[in-house]
Symmetry: D3
Subunit: 137 residues, 6 copies
């Protein structure tokens, strides 16, 4: 059967700050700029999850997109939306919530829930001009 | 010469429904949800066709994008636009018009018309949040 | 208190056809073109509902946008989404479902549910290039 | 001379929470939902400032858009970008930072800097689906 | 009948420069910045034409959008697309092609072709961040 | 460390024409259509630069996006923005400025400035419907 990639978009709004806990405020400001503001700032994160596999000859689906939508909701949106990533999300208690690291965390959470015959990839926009892609490499 | 991918966007508006002809209405509704509505629903499909090849040193083109635009028009838009995919498009008389299957049909129709030294890929949006990519694998 | 307009976007996917029931197929085709296809076609309709009123000094809201979101869902999305407008939506049994008429129907349904001290306006996209605005005039 | 409206887009990323200081956590959660999270969340705010006036017959400008861009930068972006609106922006120390109230504050800050022969209007997106317009009424 | 505004989007790509013919190069550069480059620069102009009137009770149309589309094509796109506005478009031989002035010229060209019982308005984007609206005032 | 692609968007506005210097005006018009207009036309070019590498475990960055933003500004925007590509940009004095060739030139300019352990890719939109991708192959 043909191998197709299906993509589903989602989003969440969250606060965060970038900093290294062992650095001084001055060094954090020098490296992370205004992103290191200790009072936090925030973003509307736009997420695309891409799943690659063969089309099922009975349904015509690679993966039911409403199943994927609910999986993104329960695993990612419910965990991250309207949250302070540094304070309220376990994965970022000891990991700097750069857009790179957030994408890897999202990938790992979804990878654990999607069968391994399907490849996955995650694209995450922090702003309309800054975004990242992670495919598990 | 450098190998570049050129992309051209197009679109068509069509009605469809998802269903398996051997299943009961109940089973179709269970699997395909409101997409199985027997009275049809519809979408604005957004299509990107991507063509990869070497730049022609004389013209600076991989492929003349106005030729690609006309090819998409004659092969895809004229065949699908303002049509009922299930009823009026031959390929979907016995193939469920999921966005995955529509993308494969589009790919195959264009693949037959573009010289084989060029690789092609098709991205098809069914809604702004659900889309697929097929590259002939 | 300052008078502000709050806007909320929503969408629905539907099938329709344009035609006048007393006209011949030829006349319908002459006036409505491929939009009169008797087998239907469809669109992703994008809707913006705008509500104008004074800011409540306690909440800082003109109208709670989650209330507006649920109202659009129950009145418009549940009634129109994944439907055949001509066949399944009562208002269009005897009214041609042009984007103008759909916008007026949406306005009237919402106008009946939003208190009259608030002005409302409806913008409806049939395609990214064709859209209408109706404000009850 | 013809009277034209010129529009300039800008953006800022900020953290905020919605709450009424005299209410209990329960009441704040009941009214503002997850937007009342005491740890804050955030948004990419997209701003359009619109200025209406006659075209200057010498320059062809209503207002030099690079002057407007710098004014938005100094008055709005420098004050709000990468900030916690509740904690770090004076206007919101005693004003709930709903998107309605933020738009009014932006309008008032710009109104004080643009000559009164020009009318102004502010459109502010909190998310791609929720936005407001304020024109000083 | 309800009064509705119908909008149609179009676009054209053109070169231009901003300058005052009686000013020195230095003064033109001081006022118009890099937009006064004598070698020209260019834009993808995005145009929305809005037409307001009563819905025709027979067709359900304010104005047939395919007629409006063809009118924009013949009057605006054919005249401006892939042109140098200063050199090749008569209206700008003695009028600085600022986005304000281009919008007024477009409005006047369309106003002459659309019956006066319909109100019209023109929105023209020079870039995604700079745009203008003109309604004949 | 995980290997992630970070993307940064930028843009520039420029004039150009497509033509082959050894061809007659007739032949240039036959091959390049209205893009060969000797008086030039122009575009808002939208650029995405993608950089792939391992996440730095200290900063959480693949590459500091503000460094990438400044590099794009100094190497590409300052060189191309508000310019006539054929007349004012050295690379196109003897190279037809098709969107394919512009993307290759941008890639080569950035490749020289980004360390070789990072892979790069360039996506360039000439219009919202025509765009190209080049990854150095």
């Amino acid at each position: 059967m043909p191998k197709v990639t299906v993509h589903r978009k989602a989003h969440f709004n969250a606060a965060h700050r970038l900093f290294h806990p062992e650095w001084s405020d001055e060094k954090n400001a020098a490296v992370f700029g205004k992103c290191s503001n200790p009072h936090y700032h925030g973003h509307n994160y736009d997420l695309t999850v891409s799943v690659t596999g063969e089309i099922d000859p009975i349904t015509g689906f690679v993966m039911d997109l409403s199943v994927l939508r609910e999986l993104i909701k329960s695993e990612i949106e419910d965990a991250f939306d309207h949250k302070n990533l540094n304070v309220e999300v376990a994965e970022f208690k000891s990991l700097n919530p750069t857009v790179e690291n957030i994408a890897v965390v999202i990938y790992n959470k979804l990878r654990a829930k999607i069968r391994t015959s399907l490849d996955i990839s995650v694209t995450l926009y922090e702003t309309p001009r800054n975004f990242v892609t992670y495919s598990g490499d």
